[in-house]
Amino acid sequence: MTYTILGTGSALPSRAVSNEELTRFLDTSDEWIASRTGIRSRRILTRGTLAQLGALAARRALEDSGTAVEELDLILCSTARGDHVTPALACGIQQELGATCPAYDISAACAAFIYVMDCALGYFARGKVKRVLIIAAEEMSRFVDWTDRSTCVLFGDAAGAVVLGPGDDCLSTVLTTRGNVSVLNLPHIQGNCPFQTQSEAKLALYMDGQEVFKFAVNAVIQNLHDALAEAQVGMDDIAYFTLHQANMRILNYALKKLELAEGRMPSIMAETGNISSASIPVIWDKLSREGILKPGQLIAAAGFGAGLVSGAGVFRWSRARTVPEAWNPCCDL
C-alpha cells in the first residue's frame, strides 16, 4: 500500500511583479533576467499570511478531491520559511482550515515536496491514515535581498497542495543529502543575547550560482535515473518530468542531458519565478486542471535545494477529469 493522489490545488498571490517593474529600482533589464533565468514575472504575497495562502491552495485541493476537512487524518507542510520560526506553518494552516488532525512541517528547502511525499508513504504503509493533506507554501520574497539583482529577481511566492488517499500510485521515491551549507543558505535570526560574541550573518539568501547549477543538474539526473530504476520503468514510460522550477537554464541543460524532447518537462517559472518547494504541486495542479494529465499516465518529479538536498519520485496519475478547466490559481491575497 502506498497512496493515490486524489486532488490538487494551488494559490498565487494577486500582486504580479514583472521584470520591467524590477528595473525601476535595480540595474537590470527584462532581457537580462529572461535570457539567464527564463523568468518574466513573479507573484509577491503583500496581503495576508502564508498560512492563509497555503490554506487557500489546500481548500482547492480538498474540493478537487471531494474531501471534507473533517476527514483529514494528517497535514504535512513543506516550507523554507513559515509565518513563524515556531509554530510550524502546518499549524497555522490547520487553524485556517478548522481541521483537528496532527499537523507539522518538514524542512528540506526547495526539495521538500519530494521529502514530504516520501514521509507520507510511512503513514499509509502502517495503515494510520486514509486522507492526508500536503501543502507546499513558500514566501521567498521575505528573505531575499531586494538590492541584490543576482538573487531577488529569481524568486516568487506561491502555494500548492495535494490530497492523498489509500492506493498504489507512488511507484518510487529517492532522497539524497550531500551536506554542504555554504553554497546556498539563509542565516537564522540572531536575537539579542548579551553573551553572544559571534558576529551576525547577513539575513538574506546567499547562493553560489555556479555550484548550485552543477549540483542541481547532476542531482536531478542521478535521482531520476534511480527513481525510475526503483519503479522499474524506463524514460519512455514517463509522460511528463515535473522538476523544481529553479532556473530555465538548469531545466534546459537537464533536458538535454536526459535526451528528452521539449514538452516533456513542463514549466511555469516564466510567470512564477522560483517558488521553492511549491513548484511541483503547482505544476501538477495546472496540468491536472487543464486536462493534460490523464489517468494511468506516469509522471516523474524531482526537486533540489539548499542542504544540499535532492529527491525524485515516480507517480501514477489517477485523477480523472471529464472536462478540462482553465487554470486560475490567483487569489485575493
Partner: protein, 73 residues
C-alpha cells in the same frame, strides 16, 4: 585531437565563432556567462571522464586546457 581542439569543439556548441579562438581567449570575451561556463565545464567532464572543481575558476581557454591536462595526467 589535442585537448585545445577538443575544448574548441565543445565551445562550438555554444554559438561561439571558433576560428578566432586562441589559448589566450577569455570565456567572458566570447560572451559566455557564468552558467554557460559551468555547462561547458560539465560537458568537458563527460568528454574527458574527469571531475573538475569549480573553485579552479579558469578565465582563459589556455588555463582551462592546462587544468584538464593536469587532471587527466
Amino acid at each position: 585531437m589535442s585537448t585545445f581542439e577538443r575544448v574548441v569543439k565543445i565551445l562550438a556548441e555554444y554559438d561561439v565563432e571558433t576560428d578566432a579562438l586562441t589559448p589566450e581567449t577569455t570565456f567572458e570575451s566570447i560572451g559566455l556567462d557564468s552558467l554557460a561556463i559551468v555547462e561547458i565545464l560539465m560537458n568537458c567532464e563527460d568528454e574527458f571522464g574527469v571531475e573538475i572543481e569549480l573553485e579552479e575558476n579558469p578565465k582563459t581557454i589556455g588555463e582551462f586546457v592546462a587544468l584538464l591536462d593536469s587532471i587527466v595526467d
